[in-house]
Subunit: 174 residues, 2 copies
Amino acid sequence: MSIRHGLLALLSPEPRYGYQLRTEFEASTGATWPLNIGQVYTTLSRMERDGLVSPGEEDDQGRVVYMITEAGRAEMERWFSTPVAQADRPRDELVIKLAMAVTAPGVDVGRVVQTQRTATMATLQELTRAKRSAAGGTAQRLVLDSKIFQAEAEQRWLDHCEAVLAANTEGAQS
Amino acid sequence: MSIRHGLLALLSPEPRYGYQLRTEFEASTGATWPLNIGQVYTTLSRMERDGLVSPGEEDDQGRVVYMITEAGRAEMERWFSTPVAQADRPRDELVIKLAMAVTAPGVDVGRVVQTQRTATMATLQELTRAKRSAAGGTAQRLVLDSKIFQAEAEQRWLDHCEAVLAANTEGAQS
DNA sequence: ACAGCCATGTAACTTGTTACATGATTTT
DNA sequence: AAAATCATGTAACAAGTTACATGGCTGT
C-alpha cells in the first residue's frame, strides 16, 4: 500500500494532476524505484473508487486535478501515526532463498551466499557513488541512506550465514 | 516470486502434496510468515499452468502429489544462481512513509520516527526472545537472524534520520 | 457425538505492473 | 518536419491473499 499512501500524502497539501504526481513521487523517493505513469492513473482510479480522492474540475490547461477527501485525509493521518509492523512486510526473497538452499539437498549454499555477496557489494558501491554525487533533497538522501544501511546489514547477515554454515558442516549436522 | 520458488525448491528432492508443502515451508522459514494453505493450491495450479510442476498420480492415501518438471528444475537452478537485485525488491513502506513525511508540510516527522522506533524496538525484543527459546533448525535460525539484523539496521537508520532532521531544522532548510 | 486436524480446492479480490493507444505541446 | 516531452487513460495480467465449501479421519 506504499504507492496509494504516497500519492495521498502528495495530494494532502494541495490538488495535483497525475503526471505531476509521478514527478513529485520520484523527486521524493529517488530514481531507484521508478514509478510507471500508467500506475499513477490506475491507482488514482482505485483511490477514487475507495473515496480517498476525488477529481475536481479541470485545470486552466485542461489537466485532471485530483484532490484528497476527508476520508483520504483521515487515512493519511492513520498511516503516518501507525508504525509499520513486522507482519506488514512482504516476504524477503533472499531470506527465503537461503532458507530453501539450506533445506534442500544438493544445493551449494556457499555458492548462493557468494553470488549474493558479490551482487550486494556492487550495489553498495553504486549506492555510495550515488550518495557522493549528492543530488536531491533531504528525503532522497534519507532513502539512499536507508538502502545503504540495508545493504550493509545484508552483507553482515551473509557473513553470519557463512560462519553458521561452516560451524555446522565441521561439527554435527543440525 | 518467493512462494513459487520456495515451493519449487521443496519439490526438488522428491514429490510432495499440498498440505505437506505448507508444513515444510513454515518449518523452513518459521512461523513469522504464515502461509495460507489455500495459497499453496493456487500457487501449485499456476505453476502447473506454467509447466514448472505436474501432478502425478495420487498417493496410496489419495493425496495429490506434485512433482517438479524439467523446466521447473531449470527455473529453480536459475533462481539459486541469480542474486536478488536491488530493483527486484519491493518498495519499502517505511522508507516511503518517511520520505513523504519529510516532503509533505504539516506532518510531524519526529513523531513518525518515534512511533516507528518504539515499534521496531518491541519487535527486536520479541525476536531476541524467540531466538533465545531457540526452536527450529538452521534455516529457521538464519531467518530469525536476518530479521534481527534488519530491525537493527532500521533502528540505526531511524537514529540517523533524527540526526539529519535535527541538523536540518537548526540550520538552513534543504 | 463432537471437536479438531488432515486434505483439497475455488471464487473473489487486492496491489502492483506494464504495454499500448491517443493526442497536445514544446523543442530541435 | 521530426523528436521529445507532457498528459491521460485502458486492457490485461501477475502474484499474493483470504474466505469459504467440502469431506475424511482421529481422538475424546
